[in-house]
């Protein structure tokens, strides 16, 4: 367990280094790009000094790390607001959207996958496979507008976009959740099919347990373990998918903040959003691994 924990350190360091270097990838002078043509020389010098771009790269990185350690993400060039405040304002919206999407995906994906596996090669299996294949071929920027068209414009059941109340969350959450549901369906089906051929399932059947007990208590418990890992990994793509989904539906979360900052060339904000999303992803994966070790009696981290 400690080994896994230590293994995270170089990854986090690499993530910090890469996000730090992002600003230096800007072709030409980043200060010129950020301030535009009309800025005065005084403004440029000030911003350059403010961002520390006039100092050696190593010192810049050390300052960057030191500031981050104190929870200081810098300031937005556009509004001069501390970025930490912007993130604190936007993170809850993204978190609630992602968690709702995850719940939708679990409620759809797991039952569909289980039914598909139990009725292999019959119509429920074919239907579930067709559904999950189609959904995984629908990126958020196509599924989102489609749901909007059907449920908001044609049927008029839900608001088109915005953030007023629960109703406005339904469409973005469905958009994010459907894609994950498709992956979970396929994973659950494959995993359960594999487990159904294991010896312990045969043993459970042989000792005369009712089929429902065999499936629920023996097969499913083992089959859902790999699914736990997938959920951890996919929570990351939920966060990345939120960037597009939030843009489609005008949902004011971190993803939209990222896109807005790119449009305004507010690179410190871009940097901070990318960093926060990546760090959350690393953390979630770490927690997933620990959860996996807890759930699976066969896995024990060496201490």
């Amino acid at each position: 367990m400690i080994k896994r924990l230590l293994g995270v350190i170089p990854v986090v360091f690499g993530v910090l280094l890469l996000t730090f270097l992002l600003v230096h990838l800007v072709p030409g002078d980043p200060v010129d790009v950020m301030l535009g043509e009309s800025a005065t020389q005084a403004d440029r010098t000030e911003l350059r000094a403010d961002l520390g771009l006039d100092r050696p790269l190593v010192i810049q990185f050390a300052t960057y790390l030191n500031k981050l350690a104190h929870g200081d993400f810098g300031r937005s060039i556009h509004t001069q607001t501390p970025i930490a405040n912007l993130l604190a304002e936007r993170l809850p919206a993204t978190a609630s959207l992602a968690i709702t999407a995850l719940l939708i995906a679990l409620c759809l994906g797991l039952p569909l996958g289980i039914v598909a596996a139990l009725k292999q090669h019959q119509w429920p299996d074919k239907l579930a496979t067709l559904l999950s294949l189609t959904l995984s071929a629908m990126p958020h920027f196509w599924l989102g507008p489609l749901l909007m068209l059907v449920f908001a414009l044609w049927l008029g059941w839900l608001p088109v976009s915005g953030m007023d109340g629960v109703a406005s969350m339904v469409l973005p959450a469905l958009t994010l959740g459907f894609g994950l549901a498709a992956i979970l369906t396929r994973m659950t089906r494959a995993s359960l099919l594999e487990v159904l051929h294991e010896d312990f399932v045969r043993t459970a059947r042989a000792k005369g347990l009712p089929e429902r007990m065999v499936i629920l208590h023996h097969a499913l418990r083992a089959a859902l373990l790999p699914v736990v890992t997938v959920i951890g990994l996919q929570l990351g793509s939920l966060l990345a998918g939120a960037v597009i989904t939030e843009t489609v539906f005008g949902w004011d979360g971190v993803g939209r903040l990222l896109v807005e900052s790119i449009e305004k060339r507010d690179y410190p904000v871009t940097q901070a959003c990318v960093l926060v999303i990546a760090l959350i992803y690393v953390l979630v994966n770490l927690l997933t691994d620990f959860l996996y070790a807890r759930l699976d009696p066969r896995v024990r981290f060496t201490v």
Binding site: L25, L133, Y267, I277, V282
Partner: protein
């Protein structure tokens, strides 16, 4: 099996033909016709017109060309680079392996398309930067896959025999190890092409990829969403096209995987 294979290949071939044919529609696709702004499908424009009165079908065809060109170019580059990295890591092992895998770990710490968005954001929009951003982020999967397989292959007897006979390292890698890796790599590349079609469209949708007036599916969807209420045919035409291509390529990937009995590592997706 054969029936299904024909279906997916037919759809993919259709889009390749459309992309090739689109060369003849390049001029037509950018022709602005202010009398037909957002017209519904009609005889002149079978899929209607967009917000500048341009022919949606013609732009869709050019968009297919953009999507396929980007996806194929990026997969060829990243397949070569990623495989080389994986072979080196897996063959040499030790600190080389640890260093290279540490680097891939950092890249994998950025979920999905996030890193490509970040690169495209700082590099600026345009086709070249789009290609660069996608290349920088898509080699990792191939590297991990190749490395895992190469680790196992390194101790196979035919590799040991080649070593004992004094074969050079590149010869062992390319003649004795690479051929055994081809099946999983081709399967991975197939899925990756579908992923890249989506990635290109995502970046263009966010305004980070292909720039107007050049047609791309992502950019068209971005415009289409703006006029969803008055011209739903626009979004529907582009969305269905994108979906059919991605679906066909993904199913082809599944079929190849099953046919060649490739076991995929889900952790890398």
């Amino acid at each position: 099996m054969n029936m299904k294979l024909n279906w997916t290949i037919a759809v993919i071939m259709l889009w390749i033909c459309v992309a090739l044919a689109s060369v003849f529609f390049n001029h037509h696709a950018d022709a602005i016709d202010l009398d037909h702004i957002l017209s519904t499908p009609n005889l002149q424009a079978l899929l209607g017109n967009d917000d500048l009165g341009r022919d949606v079908l013609a732009r869709l065809m050019v968009g297919a060309q953009t999507a396929l060109t980007v996806a194929l170019l990026v997969s060829i580059i990243t397949l070569s680079f990623g495989t080389a990295v994986g072979l080196i890591a897996g063959y040499f092992g030790g600190w080389v392996d640890r260093l290279l895998m540490q680097i891939t770990d950092v890249f994998l710490a950025f979920p999905g398309i996030l890193l490509a968005i970040a690169f495209a954001a700082v590099l600026g929009p345009g086709l070249n930067n789009l290609l660069l951003a996608l290349c920088l982020t898509s080699w990792v999967g191939y590297a991990r896959l190749t490395r895992a397989q190469a680790l196992a292959l390194r101790h196979r007897q035919h590799v040991l025999a080649a070593q004992a006979l004094g074969a050079s390292v590149p010869r062992i890698m390319f003649k004795h190890m690479l051929p055994l890796l081809l099946a999983p790599l081709v399967v991975e590349a197939t899925y990756s092409i579908a992923g890249l079609v989506i990635a290109e469209a995502s970046l263009s949708f966010l305004g980070l990829g292909i720039q107007a007036p050049h047609a791309s599916w992502g950019g068209m969807l971005r415009d289409g969403v703006r006029y969803l209420l008055i011209a739903p045919h626009y979004v529907l035409a582009v969305g269905v096209s994108l979906m059919s291509l991605v679906l066909a390529v993904n199913v082809l990937g599944d079929q190849l995987r099953d046919a060649w009995d490739v076991k995929r590592n889900n952790a890398d997706r």
